[in-house]
Amino acid sequence: MHNDRLLLHGFTLEAYAMIRLLLIPLLFLSCGAPGEGDLVVWNNMRPEGRDVLDSLLVAYMEIHPDVTCSQVYYETEELRSNFQIASLGGSGPDLIYGPSDQVGPFSEMKLIAPIEDLLPKDFLNGFVDAGLVWRHGHLYQVSDRVGNHLHLLYNRKIITQPPETTDEMIELAKELTIDEDGDGRIDSYGLAWNFEEPYFFVPFLGGFGGWVMDDEAHPTLNNQETINAFQFMKDLKFTHKILPPESDYDTADALFKEGRTAMIINGPWSWAEYLDMGMDMGLALIPQVSETGKWAVPMVSPQGYSLNVNLEGARRQQTIDLLQYLTSDEAQLAFTRVMKTIPSRVRALQDSLVTKDDMLRISMKQAQVGKPMPVDPELRAIWDALRPNYQSVLNGTKSPEEAAEDAQREAEKMIKAMNQ
């Protein structure tokens, strides 16, 4: 009785002492939060780009000694989801950098601020049209580059003259699809690319005269143009037999790096790697669709900075200033120097760094025949509807007509659900 109580007392004391000991480390570890004063830029830039961004931020801090800035990297999809979480939780970065299509959902959810009244008119006038991202009459994003679009890349050791039309492309690829050792397995391809992903199919959709949506963000997938484009891809695989049976991004990338495909359709994010490994790489426009005579239409998009809607007062002013710095001619050319990006300001485009570069010249020509990527959130629903149906065409389970109908129907359904 009395003893028991003493026992219990001692018992619990000892137990808690043991546990408290274990909790002490926690007290010293509630540290490490960055200063509230830091201007934070979230971005999805590749490593080389981040290095340039770091140097720009350092330079900015030298000009403005009372300001500190830092950048945080997130992969594109995470950038979107983490920004949503942070905003809902009452915080988030001051500037968020990413592709133009994030403007759609962010502006819809009121996470980013309209900035057309916050920036000087003559600053804005210095940009090409495609360099400023407007939606519903408001400016939401100022870019430091345009492009990020697909091109035709070819291995100059195998091909000297890239094809200009799809018929030429098919002929060339047929010649180059070789089974070297006769074991029934193709060893080299003429053309391989991430064709299973709709984004990499869209250039041909455009080449056949179709597109993913109209001006009101309604999907336009159940028309003859889509069916023709589906049929074209199906023929590439089953009739002309020039495509690998399975080819995702990494497979095509590996084939090109190993010199086992003469051509690949890829974007500027991949050039640095190919060039760094000493590849003799040539750049060309994705061929004209022979049936229509139109050039293939890759999606062209700017990437830029948006302003967190929660900023106000002096901090907002400072952030706007930083934004102007990061999108100035000098900043843009800094990126161009390292990553061969196309600037979005008129004066930067006239710099000899740009005009004298062969690759950039071709890249800009490709951008000219391309079409701006829509920034509407509906685009994502369209990708999600297009993807499975397109893949069904590729593996033979659906006919092009069925797939086009189904894609349209599913896109409309998802858009309706999203807009509830």
Binding site: E108, P245, A381, M418, N419
Partner: protein
Amino acid sequence: MKRQTIAYSFALPAFIVLGLVVIFPFFYNVVLSLSNMSMRHFWDWKITGLDRYVEVFKEGIFYTTLLKTFAWTFINVFFHVVIGVSLALLLNRPLPGRAIIRTLLVLPWAVPQYITALTWRGMFHFEYGAVNLVLDKVFGVQGVAWLSQPLTTFGACLITNIWLGFPFMMIIALGGLQSIPAELYEAAVVDGASRWQRLWKITIPLLRPVLVPAISLGIIWTFNNFNVIWLVSNGGKPADQVHILVSYVYRAVFNLYRFGYAAALSMVIFGILLLMSVRFIKSTKGTEAVY
């Protein structure tokens, strides 16, 4: 009563930590599942009742995906346990070199899942993948186009996840085997019991207290583990057929911003798992002592 206080004081710290971390998020989700939070109603969402739940149950996809999820879960856990326990039994014998073998067998658990899952994806490639090459050269069987058809892709995901999961069960079983007194086996041998009988009458029942938590939680984790499926199938390919329930939640939230719907779907997943676990635990009497 005093014993009760001792018990409570022992158990309380753990439950306090748990409660703090989990209760608020849980109830937040309950509220969200009854609301209309979405892209258009991001800040100004309201409670709208059970609409989201109706949406969940109305979609035919829900039921087919649920079935796939069950298949995924039970096939995985079955192999995890069978392989893990068998290996533990084999390693429990005095074999020279077993420490090295044991350590090597733990590798799948130790190396980060992201890159091993993608490596497996590469191994299932039709032409260049190691799996087909082994099938061809060692077994003389024609290669399978693993990632081109939904069913075989599902199989590829299963094999990958089994590879990832068996070491854990093996570790549990190895630990559990230590709790079985050697005299029980000796007495059984004296009584003339065969190896098989010793396995089923002694080993398995006495492993139960340690295996039941592992299996129950294994079921729950596997049910909710869409990482592996996502990585090996590259996002549900081909044609979006390779999905389990949680990947739908993920898509609903991050691609279509349907937060209320995703919350409701999460609650439904929770309900299903709760029912399954309670039944499993009750049937294996996992909450009781063994002696």
